[in-house]
Symmetry: C2
Subunit: 445 residues, 2 copies
């Protein structure tokens, strides 16, 4: 391989987007990878490695440790941290020791945060200017820092004590005239988050202010780092993915490539909770055995009533959780939401009840050979149970997550099993209770 060949090859590789090269690295074999590490610059490899999501450590270990340390030192601090989290303790230690001083401090800083704190996601890739400089000085600070930091759309401003004092839109700096006052283009109301805030509690600021990047401040209002626009996209994606997973009864989002046992562990806790709560429902159903013994047809529609109650409860739950996550609701608005949910439950319940009355009545008469009157009495019981169960399910599906949210337990995790069980109980009691009362005691069907 001559130097010219190398240059040629390097150019060819560089024509691809880093993310695509990352994908190619994952899919090639070891010799090809070694060749790529050999040809590309450290900065390029660092950029490529920030795109490798599955076991980046595995590929990093294929390099000489000195090169690996240089690559990691060249990465944005949050990407380096993501990579560190994938390493085993020994490799972590070996690598950390060899990072350059600044990178080592940055990574150690990020590792000091809890996983659910916003500080753990920030990067040191930002440009900072003092608020008492001139336009020209700000511009030259920018040019000086831009080599190392490529998030330049927004410049962060600090005062003489290092306190965060706002942000400058680069556009405003570029179109400013030399003798304009820098103060006039600083936006002092720029949104920010604190380093120890929980990620889930920052989402409103990250999404609603529509800024490209958001500074992360220490308790005494100094800039600890920033969240770039791709950090924000990732955070929103993860946060919503987590909510989604929890609604489906998974403890956290799953990954296609994780081992079976890991996936199993994410699903089992919820299932065990539901098994025991389900046993409670079973024992309540058991109390109505006598009704079933007299009128076996009622068991046909148990699953129908329970399923519908469950579905309505889940709908209310999902709506309530999203509302709780997205907005700060006043007590008045919460009560309004509660009434709205119950109204929807009632209206939908009534619509379904009418359909159930008609279709099930006909079905019972034709296929189960009950008299017309008895048939419609039975289907009427199903219909009324549907209305009652759906109204109460809406209520439960709204109140329970509000309650958990109030006492600071994640409603997305805790509400699911509890709501399913309560709704099952309500539906069972309503349905069998009504059937026993009306069909057996009143009409002696």
């Amino acid at each position: 391989q001559t130097t010219k060949d190398r240059e040629e090859l390097k150019k060819k590789i560089a024509a691809y987007h880093e993310r695509d090269i990352a994908n190619a690295i994952v899919e090639s074999d070891k010799t090809v990878r070694k060749c790529i590490y050999d040809i590309l610059d450290i900065a390029d490899i660092a950029e490529i490695f920030s795109y490798i999501e599955e076991e980046p450590g595995k590929y990093l270990e294929e390099m000489p440790i000195e090169q690996a340390a240089k690559v990691v030192s060249n990465m944005d601090s949050d990407d380096a941290m993501d990579l560190f989290e994938e390493l085993n303790e020994e490799d972590k230690y070996k690598l950390l020791k060899r990072l350059d001083k600044e990178a080592k401090e940055d990574v150690q800083k990020l590792l000091s945060y809890e996983e659910d704190q916003i500080g753990s996601c920030m990067t040191n890739n930002y440009i900072v200017v003092r608020n008492d400089v001139t336009i020209r000085e700000a511009m030259s600070t920018l040019v000086k820092q831009a080599g190392e930091h490529d998030n330049i759309q927004t410049l962060y401003v600090i005062d003489e004590n290092g306190i965060f004092a706002g942000a400058i839109d680069l556009k405003d700096l570029i179109i400013a005239r030399e003798h304009d006052n820098l103060q006039d283009i600083i936006s002092s109301s720029y949104p920010y988050v604190y380093e120890h805030e929980k990620i889930s509690e920052c989402m409103e600021i990250l999404t609603d202010y529509e800024e490209d990047s958001i500074p992360v401040l220490t308790q005494d209002k100094k800039i600890a780092g920033i969240l770039t626009s791709s950090d924000i996209v990732e955070l929103v994606d993860d946060e919503m993915g987590d909510d989604y997973a929890k609604l489906a009864g998974l403890t956290e989002e799953e990954d296609l490539n994780e081992p079976t046992i890991v996936s199993m562990k994410k699903r089992l806790p919820w299932l065990i909770a539901l098994l025991f709560l389900g046993m409670a429902v079973s024992s309540v159903v058991g109390m109505f055995e006598s009704i079933v013994a007299v009128l076996p047809i009622v068991i046909c529609f148990q699953s129908l009533v329970l399923d519908m109650a469950g579905n309505v409860g889940t709908q209310s739950l999902a709506v309530t959780i999203r509302v709780l996550m997205d907005e700060n609701l006043s007590g008045k608005k919460k009560i309004a939401l509660l009434f709205k949910e119950m109204k929807i439950g009632f209206l939908n319940g009534a619509s379904l009840a009418i359909m159930a009355l008609v279709f099930l009545g006909v079905y019972i008469h034709l296929f189960k050979h009950y008299a017309w009157i008895s048939s419609f009495l039975i289907s009427g019981c199903v219909g009324i149970s549907l209305i009652v169960a759906m109204v109460i399910s809406s209520l439960v599906g709204t109140i329970i997550p509000m309650f958990f949210h109030k006492i600071n337990i994640d409603p997305a995790v805790a509400s699911g099993p509890l709501i399913t069980t309560i709704n099952d109980l309500v539906a069972v009691i309503t349905y069998y209770g009504l059937s026993g009362l009306v069909l057996i005691q009143l009409f002696h069907i």
Copy 2:
């Protein structure tokens, strides 16, 4: 009110972030709003209005129509479009007529896309340079365009035919020397989407390449517009919110402030589908009436088996849908996923079966006064049904969304009711079938 007072007040208002002013506008009364419209500049009002999400049209109507037209002309084209969608036909027409020429064209362009096409979300707020200019010329193009367009982190490059030719990171332009070649800092592998692509199919490009903005191209590779970082955040948020809503059985995401009837309509379709599918399940349960008549205790555990099957199916469904959305799976990977899901279903099923065997056996003996052997035969039936139902539910929960995805039907919408029903049927047949066979025919309990 003197001019000085006005200036003072304007300064005070400008010290707030536009999003906070937008919130204040929504919460103040009409006189305060009129005062704000009166004091602030058109550009500021335009920026503020892009943050008003609920009925911006209502507030726009409080201005003289000429001022409203100026405000809308000053908005980014996608924000203007969002606002247009909220207006009634008459107001839309009146306003559109008065927009300045460029804004009118932009809005009409965006209105020409389907709602689910990525083109409907783009903005004209971007800077474009020719690929054959010098560094200095590129810089002066930037300064000239920056006044109107504030997304300057990335400059888009076109060739002499107006064809998209890549992008320049502003950082690279700033640190470049005057006599460097512009070609060297153009990234020719910059990702892009086509204007008529479906939003849901662009998500991978929007999130995985981690770029601040993504260009939207016409079919002949000219730049039609771009998606800014805040557009991307919003798209990810909406897309995931939609998936979440669909998993919960809502046809689309709900809004806190929408009328009851609108919310009702979003929920009813799924409920009606489930009612009729539930009737099918009911008629199958009906076929086992004779077993229940002989051994009423079996109905106690019907809800348990059905609920568990349903939960496992939902878990598999959620995992499969997320995987299908996020990645392009090969056939081999799909089969691997299928086996993994079934393995998880079996392992979780077995764990739960053992618990059910032990706890239900004791429960049946103590509270239902069956002999020890009969008790454990019954609880054993429940356990085995759990395993069978959970394995099949995992299979169904994985195959059905894959099938819908294959035939280009949104799996998130279609899979839910179908999976619930199939799983209910499987669980009912397994449980009652097994009970009838083992408990009644074999052991005559």
